[in-house]
Amino acid sequence: AQSVTQLDSQVPVFEEAPVELRCNYSSSVSVYLFWYVQYPNQGLQLLLKYLSGSTLVKGINGFEAEFNKSQTSFHLRKPSVHISDTAEYFCAVSDKGGSEKLVFGKGTKLTVNP
């Protein structure tokens, strides 16, 4: 069965600092990988996805993630964060060829301080 581990439940950073949110997955089959963001009192929004091709994926709001098959990782990065990036970030996987249901990690709460 698939599982997703987000190693940090909370990440505090200062504004304009770089950030990396870590995600590792476990699956016996090939997967697609996703990062979603949830702003306070809002629904989930897709930040980026990896389906195939280049392992470096660029998303919205200046975020990017790199798929590393050998390390089964899909870490999310941003070179310079803003106060408005404060939110909860979820990593998710989906089996290739399956029902496309998402298996989510527990989430990482990113807090950007001035």
């Binding site: 809002q42 629904g43 897709l46 998710a92 496309e100």
Partner: protein, 114 residues
């Protein structure tokens, strides 16, 4: 255009009562998903509908949970004989078609069982 909408936004019910939660997907989206977000379990897949195919019900936690999708559009999630552990935010998502791998989430229904 309009996004995924869910109603009610909040629902408080007494233990043992039945509840119905509604989801209106984005017009033209053929795939519809239900997830549950709770403090203890994080985000969990519940059920998936794709066109006229049999739904994937593999995530439903018990036979008290059921869902239907009428006319390929609106979906209703029903929880019978609610228990306190059913308290959670129930999220609905839709995607344009199989293979799209881009789910759009609604704002959720917060269910509180007292």
């Amino acid at each position: 255009g309009a996004g995924v909408s869910q109603s009610p936004s909040n629902k408080v019910t007494e233990k043992g009562k039945d509840v119905e939660l509604r989801c209106d997907p984005i017009s033209g989206h053929t795939a519809l998903y239900w997830y549950r977000q709770s403090l203890g379990q994080g985000l969990e897949f519940l059920i998936y509908f794709q066109g006229n195919s049999a739904p994937d019900k593999s995530g439903l936690p018990s036979d008290r949970f059921s869902a239907e999708r009428t006319g390929g559009s609106v979906s209703t999630l029903t929880i019978q004989r609610t228990q306190q552990e059913d308290s959670a935010v129930y999220l609905c998502a839709s995607s344009l078609r199989t293979g799209d791998y881009e789910q759009y989430f609604g704002p959720g229904t917060r269910l509180t069982v007292t």
